[in-house]
């Protein structure tokens, strides 16, 4: 965890919203990196604004200084701008995409191709239970993230999605993804 925090994390101004635009951009860039690494290591994806404000990484116990709520909200908004976060629970919490969805989708697609899963049906449940997936990029993926990846792969024309009754799920269909099938014609 020591490598997650740059030296400037131990200086008080890092927790004050910088007023000069360029400095603020630099500050936010560093905060983004801290949040991606910290929550990825912790395997956490849902962050609560009030509850987590007084904890690492938003609060530095050495300095006894932390981000103010409006600064954290600003940070989350900037993550949303780059599609790495979403508000949930009416703004009380947010989901953070510690890994970029596009590169995660590519990684999963490559793994599927390398393991000859083309033309096979697979259940979402099996990707969590089957030991074959233990060394795969599916491993330990939270449901919401896997769902996003599958939706992206569907939009790219690489997979078909189905519900528990084998009904195909199309765009804007909000039923739960239970099954997916790789399109054999996809590259």
């Amino acid at each position: 965890k020591k490598e997650i925090f740059p030296d400037i994390y131990d200086l008080p101004p890092f927790f004050t919203l910088q007023k000069v635009e360029e400095t603020k951009n630099r500050q936010f860039e560093m905060w983004h990196e801290i949040m991606f690494k910290y929550f990825d290591l912790d395997n956490r994806f849902v962050i609560h604004i009030d509850k987590d404000l007084k904890k690492l990484p938003f609060f530095n116990p050495k300095l006894q200084i932390g981000l103010k709520k409006h600064v954290l909200v600003n940070l989350v908004e900037s993550l949303i701008d780059i599609k790495r976060a979403e508000w949930v629970n009416e703004g009380a919490s947010f989901i953070i995409f510690t890994r970029d969805i596009n590169s995660l989708a590519e990684k999963i697609w490559q793994w599927i191709k390398d393991h000859s899963l083309l033309n096979e049906f697979e259940t979402v449940e099996n990707t969590k239970l089957d030991f074959h997936y233990e060394k795969s990029p599916f491993f330990n993926l939270p449901d919401f993230l896997l769902e996003r990846v599958l939706l992206l792969l569907r939009d790219q024309g690489r997979v078909y999605l189905f519900d528990e009754d084998y009904n195909q799920l199309h765009h804007d269909d909000e039923r739960k993804i239970v099954l997916f099938k790789i399109d054999p014609k996809a590259e």
Binding site: P6, D7, I8, L11, P12, P13, F14, T16, Q18, K19, V20, E22, T23, R26, Q27, E29, M30
Partner: protein, 238 residues
């Protein structure tokens, strides 16, 4: 002693002619020596090319020798000494430095300790292949020759820094940075006024400029802001 004007003129002309012939003879001799010297220098560079490129101490002695005789082996890769490969060496180093500055400046702001750059460059190198601060300075001077980029070497309290943002530091900027260098604390305007014995408007104006240029960060406090200067109080690498 001259008996008449004509004798005087004739004498003057003889002296001028002798003087010109002597100078011309000396120039010719110097020209031949210079050509011979160039050949010797080239032979030396060819023989010791590996040491020049791999041994920092040898490289610096060679560069110093060239400088003393007014030869620049970095002026062109097509030059007599350009084929030693030093030009390529410093070009590559210059490109690496530009990249390092870009990545370090996200954390540090516009000025970077030269020692930090050196340690970054030497991270995976053996002592034999290491880069020195002199190498970095030579490469930086080359960057500026090519791009007029505004990269500039500064000394603040006996520490060498590289400024990698285009705007030059004024004397007032440098004075404040020198005053806060190495001290891990924030400064209020009133504190700086007292310590530097400047007028409030001078302090405020200079601090605002340092803020705008990214050298200073603010810390919100109850009564007044504190100003911090990460570039001169943080070491990038432990």
């Amino acid at each position: 002693m001259f008996f008449d004007i004509e004798d005087e003129i004739a004498f003057e002309e003889e002296v001028d002619e002798l003087f010109t012939k002597t100078i011309e003879a000396k120039m010719e001799k110097m020209k031949q020596s210079k050509e011979q010297f160039k050949k010797n220098l080239r032979r030396f560079a060819d023989t010791h090319q590996r040491e020049i490129n791999e041994d920092p101490a040898f490289r610096h002695s060679f560069l110093k020798m060239c400088k003393n005789v007014g030869v620049d082996p970095l002026s062109s890769s097509k030059s007599l000494l350009g084929k030693v490969g030093l030009m390529q060496f410093y070009n590559n180093l210059a490109i690496q430095i530009i990249r390092d500055c870009k990545s370090l400046s996200v954390k540090q702001g516009g000025i970077i300790l030269l020692d930090d750059l050196r340690r970054l460059r030497n991270k995976d190198k053996s002592e034999k292949d290491s880069i020195t601060e002199e190498d970095i300075e030579t490469a930086i001077n080359k960057i500026d020759d090519y791009f007029h980029s505004g990269y500039e070497l500064l000394t603040i309290n006996n520490q060498r820094y590289l400024r990698s943002v285009p705007k030059a530091l004024s004397n007032d900027h440098s004075s404040i940075l020198a005053h806060v260098e190495g001290k891990k604390k924030g400064w209020s305007l009133s504190e700086l006024e007292k310590e530097l014995q400047w007028t409030p408007s001078r302090i405020e104006h200079t601090i605002n400029e340092l803020l705008q240029d990214g050298y200073a960060w603010i810390e919100e406090k109850e009564e007044e802001f504190n100003y911090w200067f990460p570039s001169v109080i943080l070491r990038t690498l432990h």
